[in-house]
Symmetry: C2
Subunit: 296 residues, 2 copies
């Protein structure tokens, strides 16, 4: 796929997702500040990586994108919730996100806390009430998303991350941390897309989906660490050098930047191997390569 | 039902729920502090009102209690999450809950935030993966629980509550606030119990369930307001007089304590009318009366 075609596709997926996300909001003057706070972060121009994965995995396995769209919305809501809570003073205390002041800098800590809670809950509403799939798929998707994001997934990973500050983790600990903190939601994105297409949980196609997701989840995090070290504040839209300032454990404690790049390339190739055999994998392969070269 | 029989029943429902709640936790040294923080609040000896409602509504409509148990656990997890977040310094800044220091006083703000997030997410995992009901019921229950607790339910009500501090709300605004903040989760508790029994969403039985829930949800909140004014710190296990100190809007801005008690009795009777005709409603009727007379 050409770079232009990929850009069009990404733009289309993001636009579809954003249009659908708006459907979950109905104006209510009594809670206007909550709705504004949620939408401030939800529509702050993220890359929509998780929705793209859900939509493209659904299409890879012959599904209709409408079936994956509510899942894509749920994934983006829960991702946004985690960013809002991560930025809070009692967590990373960040003031810049996607080139804009963080949620609590604009709406205050209380509203940022509640906006995050609302987005977490809203994610499960979107997924469990997906009208385009069978109730069996909706229930399975909601349960899977929860298992990937709760205590043994994303939130548990955030805890390991915080616990690891000021203490040197082993590479194994770091791998576990990131497979939970970042990897699990990326895994959920691919799996929910496949579920929307009707892929059975114990099929070869689902195994390949999970293999792909594990590889790119890790590659994604290593690149995040690399960008925090060598990236550009303006491009990234967030402060850099923060991992070092916070004495966080990153992959760059174990690899040089060049080794990290090689590792990303190897993981990317392994991810591609898992999906390339499927007809129509061109778009997803191009996206995978794009992800590995991103500068923000 | 005699007082002794009711006490036995409540004890049994609470014990069943607590045993099942433990199933959602598997030890993991790397996130021990998160699991401890969640369990500190989850097993702090709450009244288990929401699990009792779910279990008893399920039985009222001929369902098996095993079918409602995962829903009961989800309801208690989300309720506990809301208490942990409500007590945070950026919210009500409370230091006492159920007679013990609040979660953040013991585990710190960061862990309290993440324990709340984990319990919110865990609630949906428990509900969506309920193995004792059809996927259709599990998906419907998860979506309903989310709609009752998200931006247009519990969290929205918390926002209205905070917005209303230092400003006098009308009675209509206060009724809306509480139907969202407290009422919606009580509503979900009754409805999820009925769903577990296979009650159809558009049946007369479900209408009666919702009528009952609306009445006791309101009675519950008025009594909460009353106990904050005239209750006993030791019995309540939390500080009293806090509503007035925070200039919160309560029903006691509109009613005298005696009028409030009469209002609670009237709502309780209306709730009983909705369920009394069902055979086997004796236990639930006794519980409803007990709820209206509670001193904590």
């Amino acid at each position: 796929m050409t770079e232009e075609a990929l850009e069009l596709l990404l733009h289309r997926d993001a636009t579809l997702t954003e249009a659908r996300l708006k459907d979950y909001y109905e104006e209510d003057e009594d809670i206007k500040v909550l709705l504004d706070s949620e939408r401030y972060s939800l529509f702050a121009g993220g890359k929509r990586v998780r929705p793209v994965l859900a939509l493209e995995f659904c299409k890879l396995f012959g599904g209709r994108e409408e079936a994956a769209l509510p899942f894509a919305c749920g994934l983006e809501m829960i991702h946004t919730a985690s960013l809002i809570h991560d930025d809070l003073p009692c967590m990373d205390n960040d003031d810049l996100r996607r080139g804009k002041p963080t949620n609590h800098k604009v709406f205050g800590e209380t509203m940022a806390l509640l906006a995050g809670d609302s987005l977490l809950i809203g994610a499960f509403e979107a997924v469990a009430s997906n009208p385009e799939v069978t109730p069996e798929i909706a229930a399975r998707a909601a349960a899977y998303l929860a298992s990937c994001t709760g205590r043994y997934g994303m939130v548990g990973g955030q805890v390991m991350d915080l616990q690891g500050e000021h203490r040197k983790l082993t590479l194994d600990e770091l791998l576990k941390l990131h497979s939970m903190k970042t990897g699990a939601l990326i895994n959920a994105s691919c799996v929910l897309g496949a579920l929307a297409a009707g892929v059975s949980p114990d099929s070869k196609a689902m195994q390949d989906t999970v293999t792909y997701a594990e590889k790119i989840g890790l590659a994604f995090q290593i690149l995040d660490d690399l960008l925090d070290k060598i990236g550009n504040v303006e491009e990234l839209g967030k402060n850099v050098g923060m991992d070092e300032a916070r004495e966080k454990n990153t992959f760059l404690s174990f690899f040089s930047p060049d080794e990290a790049k090689e590792y990303i390339d190897r993981l990317t190739e392994e991810a591609l191997v898992a999906i390339r055999p499927y007809p129509g994998s061109d778009a997803l392969c191009s996206f995978t390569l794009w992800l590995s070269k991103r500068t923000k």
